[in-house]
């Protein structure tokens, strides 16, 4: 059949219109879909990147804060982390390298120099940073204690050490700090406001069962004297439903010479470590940084590893005072300059070089003891032989603070 020309063109035009319409819609759907997927992909990727970046930024900012707090000795800093209270911070230390970061995120910061004593995990709207100098007998480094207001410290013990710790931390014997309270604006280093204090409560010896974790994130029981915590003893009733990792204890011996860590396992206290020597000499008016470190350290590994960092500094600092050949009893450094500044046969020169004991001999012994201590930790991760440092440091301290001062000589440090 022959279709008239005018009818043919009309039919053809109608088909073309239909094809074009369908083509247009398909084109729109495909192009639009591709563009939408492209932007959605960018948004999702940016979200992940931003979270990772935020985590990294937080950790690096915290590192700067830790550095600043670490050098501000005897100062407490309360850091408002309410924007991060849904994140969990983790702290660990192995082979003299401490690491901290956010749980579940890759970025961690490593530090081989600054000893940081903290629980293994923290999740809090307010971090507390406190720094104390560690002297053996001259200042070796600053210890940085990191904790939070929702980490409760239950103190048992009635000696001066316990009372001093409670007082120094602004602890209260009436009631613990309520971690649910929103943090007040943090001032930089003031401890006068009761809102800004450690969560420390002291208990009498018969109040063991009164321990109540409440809404705290975790609890550390500090037993000074060892009368409360022993292996396989039952945990207090309120801790029976607490996750095991949230309850730990440390027993400081009555003479403050050792620290033994305990952890909760199936409602019993299990000994976590052998007694760890506390290596310190503490003049009457100063705080025992090494003992405090045992209270704040979340685990025996954290304690020993960070003490290792402190011990690693002793030879370097000693060589500044005593000279690089002090291992052979050859004085150098500041000691040699002091010796040279006094005439022969003077009392001061005698105290440095000839008397029994004298500063050179004591420094030599101290230096060699520090090297032995470092070797032992590297080999066995224990600090048993580091106890020699207590004796050498005490002798040095006596000579510097008593002998030299009484004879009117310039002190070494």
């Amino acid at each position: 059949m022959v279709i008239p020309h005018h009818k043919k063109s009309r039919t053809h035009q109608n088909s073309k219109g239909q094809v074009e319409l369908v083509f247009n819609w398909m084109y729109i759907l495909i192009a639009g879909g591709v563009i939408l997927l492209f932007f959605v992909g960018i948004v999702m990727r940016q979200k992940d990147i931003s979270e990772q970046q935020l985590g990294d930024q937080v950790i690096h900012i915290l590192q700067s804060i830790f550095t600043g707090s670490g050098v501000s000795e005897n100062t407490k800093n309360f850091i408002d982390t309410s924007g991060l209270q849904h994140y969990e911070f983790e702290f660990s230390c192995t082979d003299g390298v401490s690491r901290f970061g956010i749980v579940g995120q890759g970025g961690t910061v490593e530090d081989t120099v600054q000893p940081i004593f903290s629980p293994e995990r923290l999740q809090t709207p307010r971090l507390i940073l406190w720094s104390l100098p560690y002297k053996l007998p001259y200042k070796v480094t600053d210890f940085l204690f990191v904790t939070s207001q929702n980490t409760q410290y239950a103190i048992f013990g009635e000696d001066e050490f316990a009372a001093e710790f409670v007082k120094a931390t602004g602890g209260d014997s009436s009631k613990p700090v309520d971690p649910a309270a929103s943090p007040a604006p943090a001032s930089s280093s003031s401890n006068s406001n009761k809102e800004l204090s450690f969560n420390v409560k002291s208990y009498d010896d018969d109040q063991y069962e009164d321990i109540d974790i409440g809404k705290q994130y975790q609890i550390r029981i500090v037993d000074i004297g060892g009368l409360q915590i022993s292996p396989d003893k039952e945990v207090p009733i309120s801790l029976k439903n607490t996750p095991d990792i949230k309850a730990t204890a440390v027993v400081i011996s009555a003479d403050h010479s050792t620290a033994t860590f305990y952890r909760k396992r199936a409602n019993l206290w299990k000994q976590w470590s052998d007694p760890i020597p506390i290596i310190s000499i503490t003049p009457d008016d100063e705080k025992d940084a090494a003992a405090y470190a045992a209270i704040f350290a979340g685990s025996p590994e954290l304690y020993i590893c960070n003490m290792q960092k402190a011990f690693a500094r002793i030879p370097y600092v000693t060589k500044i005072y005593a000279g690089e050949n002090i291992a052979s009893a050859q004085p150098g450094g500041k000691l040699n300059m002091l010796i040279d500044s006094y005439p022969d046969l003077s009392e001061c020169r005698n105290a440095y070089t000839k008397s029994d004991p004298n500063i050179i001999q004591t420094l030599q012994t101290h230096f060699i003891a520090s090297l032995a201590c470092i070797q032992e930790i590297k080999a066995t991760s224990t600090i048993g032989s580091c106890t020699t440092l207590i004796q050498t440091a005490s002798e040095l301290n006596t000579m510097n603070s008593d002998t030299l001062v009484s004879q009117g000589c310039t002190t070494l440090y």
């Binding site: 073309k16 219109g17 700067s64 550095t67 000795e73 007998p137 070796v140 450094g333 500041k334 300059m337």
Partner: protein, 192 residues
């Protein structure tokens, strides 16, 4: 009349293509703008990271037991450098009479440089210089720069802190305090 509809359809297709072309050109501009901004943001972050590192290193130097003054029972003195320790660090017993001309002492002799495997963790890629204004002495205590790279420019950002320089008077054995400053600078890289 018959020609007009055909031209309209072709024109409509051309318009669509033109619009899409312009759209993608705009998207390309947007992407170029974004990447340029991102590059700037990265440089800004690097600058901030460098500044943060400078602050950390400066704080560590100012409170380092190897440099700090102490008085009796190891009580520290702020903003003070013990010159006897400094002389011990550079391995020279420099006399208290000011040398003339003022020497710039070789950093390779410094104790910190000789024990770099430890002190690199303390200072990082940085330079620590003690300037004694009383005798115009400049003592380089530590200097560890980045390895040179022809594609990158090494930049150096110093920070200055004025400190008292404590020494012992030889005749009276009393403390005396000079005036000087610590220069603590960090090295960084910028892509050329």
């Amino acid at each position: 009349m018959k020609l007009f509809p055909i031209n309209r359809k072709a024109q409509h297709m051309t318009e669509t293509i033109a619009v899409l072309f312009i759209f993608f050109v705009l998207v390309a501009f947007g992407l170029i703008f974004y990447f340029k901004w991102h590059e700037g943001a990265i440089k800004e972050e690097q600058t901030q990271a460098r500044a943060s590192r400078a602050m950390d290193t400066t704080l560590r130097v100012l409170f380092l037991p190897e440099l700090m003054c102490t008085r009796g029972d190891a009580v520290p003195e702020d903003n003070c450098v013990d010159m006897m320790k400094v002389r011990s660090l550079i391995g020279q017993d420099i006399p208290t009479i000011p040398p003339n001309p003022a020497p710039i002492l070789d950093p390779s002799q410094s104790y910190f440089m000789r024990n770099q495997q430890y002190y690199y963790d303390v200072f990082g890629v940085a330079k620590v210089v003690l300037h004694n204004l009383d005798n115009s002495e400049n003592i380089v205590l530590y200097d560890k720069s980045l390895s040179p790279d022809p594609t990158k420019q090494i930049i150096y950002e110093p920070t200055y802190f004025i400190v008292a320089l404590r020494d012992i008077d030889d005749s009276t054995h009393q403390s005396k305090y000079g005036f000087g400053y610590l220069e603590v600078g960090v090295y960084g890289e910028v892509i050329q």
